[in-house]
Symmetry: C2
Subunit: 357 residues, 2 copies
């Protein structure tokens, strides 16, 4: 196991995301404004952004503010993409619009849109002005789709090739793009979409198939035509359903004319599935979303309405019962049975609702 | 949109998985033992196995039995991997152990184990005898890990290369494997694991990185050493957490000596996440899993225990109240307030439990 100890090992579930000791040290270093110590604790080159995000999520707002002033470069594009939505909302006002627009340029377009969504209206204006023409148009187009639809989730970077290309041509094309800085290639991709002359997707070739095929083979002969096509107005839950059903790793998104305009990858879907499941579960108990970072007031605000409705209905039930005060005083056994009826009714209802969801 | 109409388009959520008309026709064809019509309705070459599975899941047991007698080839390895667990359990006794062992040979090892798990004890013996030596040993080894652990989920097919190989060598190696029938390459893979002389994983190269790099580049210079390594005894929920946190597409599994023995891919994780979420949600309402295919008796059996416990506690509450019959008869208003107290208490409890989960 010695060789393995250098690797990023899977954390034990018990301390996953809650490495409190280190966070306390970090808090002290920030309070002392000790830049060197902060840099030591945040090993930006080696640490996975997801882990850095876990730690910054545990800092207080004022700590994050001091950190943004001392070392603004800690808030790298990769880190911003990993932070939870409400922490991003808290951090973005601390950064310059220049830094935010740079991050948006560097990120894939789906992550850029997610970042942009957390900006205040004024900040949005400023950041849009800093963006190059094309990026700005793309962001605006993405925002034109409803929240929680495929249009918001898709990235505009994908790899497409005509059906008459060979495996060799396709690989050479990608190498050439890679050499030129790879700006036109997505950071991660898993399938090459095969398109016809009208830019309509007609099939796909998984990279693993491309890898095991001879250079002379035509894409036409390799491609899987059983293609699941997503439209931008599709609800994210339906997209997740298709990914699960067909074991998809990525899927092409087409515009109203059926032309390829984007791609959705499975890692975004994993997030959506978790999100939708949490939503369903919270809705079942009548609690709206309240994260660990929320204050007591937020939590009370989130949970009170449902409890209040519950109080009203219970009072209504009581007032009905009070109409029968005389009868009850004659036959007290009735009152004794009341909790049984109420409890069984409520429980059966919850079970039915859960199974239906 | 005409070009698109030939493609497999995303189904509207309303009829997704419940295309009743077609299933009725299928039922009639099976009852009439009309092989030609059955073949017409089940277009095995064109239809996605996931869709075929959806339809067969809606048939009755006797229909499935007749179908297995008339056209056993309908139950292809790909279809068996897509069917829901309880339907697989229902279908397997209808197939010959020869057909089942063939399916297990053809499937990736993780799907083969899942199939094997649904067999009765006798059938397991028979099927194991039909399997080639190596496959049998692998199945037995997989079964030695607990259910719901990484060991059960992993597949034994993966792609590994030493760090001193170049991109060109790696691709040539894969092409050669592909030409020889590709038996040693997994059907789908997304990363090449880089190993040292002891077969310990020391990094990985995503296929998309391999694609955009020049043939002469060494894997050592390309690889990402920030590797998340899974051990076979890890709980599937913890594995899913790692996939979500680090946006993984695949992860290597190592044995006790740190040697690469398998791989877990994200499509299996999507299933696990759904499964675990459903479990959590059902547990919250005190309902154990009961699928759409279950009979009324199954459902009653699944839900009754919790309702019974609930009845007991309600009766306990009532008996406490009955101790105070005299007091209540003196002050009936007390009885009127009881539902308010009970209801608020129950609801607050459910909210707290849901948020904690």
């Amino acid at each position: 196991m010695t060789e393995l100890s250098e690797l990023h090992e899977a954390p034990a579930p018990s301390h996953a995301g809650l490495d409190v000791g280190n966070v306390d040290e970090l808090h002290e270093a920030i309070t002392a404004q000790d830049k060197t110590r902060i840099r030591e604790l945040l090993d930006l080159d080696l640490e996975h952004p997801a882990e850095l995000a876990d730690r910054l999520e545990q800092l207080s707002h004022s700590d994050r503010k001091t950190l943004a002033e001392l070392c603004p470069d800690v808030f790298s594009p990769a880190l911003l993409a990993e932070l939870e939505d409400d922490v991003v909302e808290d951090v973005l006002p601390l950064l310059s619009s220049r830094q935010i627009s740079r991050a948006m340029e560097e990120l894939e377009s789906d992550d850029a849109v997610q970042l942009f969504e957390e900006l205040s209206d004024e900040a949005r204006e400023e950041v849009l002005e800093e963006l190059p023409e094309q990026e700005r148009r793309e962001i605006e187009e993405s925002l034109s789709f409803d929240e929680e639809t495929a249009g918001r989730l898709m990235q505009r970077e994908f790899v497409a090739a005509p059906e008459f290309w060979t495996v060799g041509q396709t690989i050479d094309h990608m190498r050439e793009q890679g050499e030129r800085g790879g700006d036109n290639l997505p950071e991660k991709f898993f399938d090459v979409y095969v398109i016809d002359a009208h830019f309509h997707p007609i099939g796909y070739v998984p990279l693993s198939t491309l890898m095991r095929s001879q250079r002379g083979t035509l894409l036409r002969d390799l491609m899987d035509t059983n293609l699941t096509v997503i439209t931008p107005d599709m609800d994210q839950e339906d997209v997740a359903y298709l990914f699960e059903k067909y074991d998809l790793i990525s899927a092409p998104v087409v515009d109203a004319d059926g032309r390829l305009t984007g791609m959705i990858t499975v890692d975004d879907m994993v997030e959506v599935i978790q999100e939708e499941n949490t939503e369903d579960m919270l809705a079942l108990a009548g609690v709206s979303e309240a994260g660990l970072v929320d204050t007591v007031a937020d939590t009370v605000k989130a949970r009170a309405p449902w409890l209040f409705v519950n109080l009203l209905t219970a009072m209504l039930a009581s007032s009905v019962i009070s109409l029968f005060q005389n009868e009850i005083s004659q036959l007290v056994a009735l009152a004794v049975l009341m909790p049984i009826v109420a409890s069984m009714g409520g429980n059966t209802g919850t079970q039915a609702l859960t199974v239906a969801i």
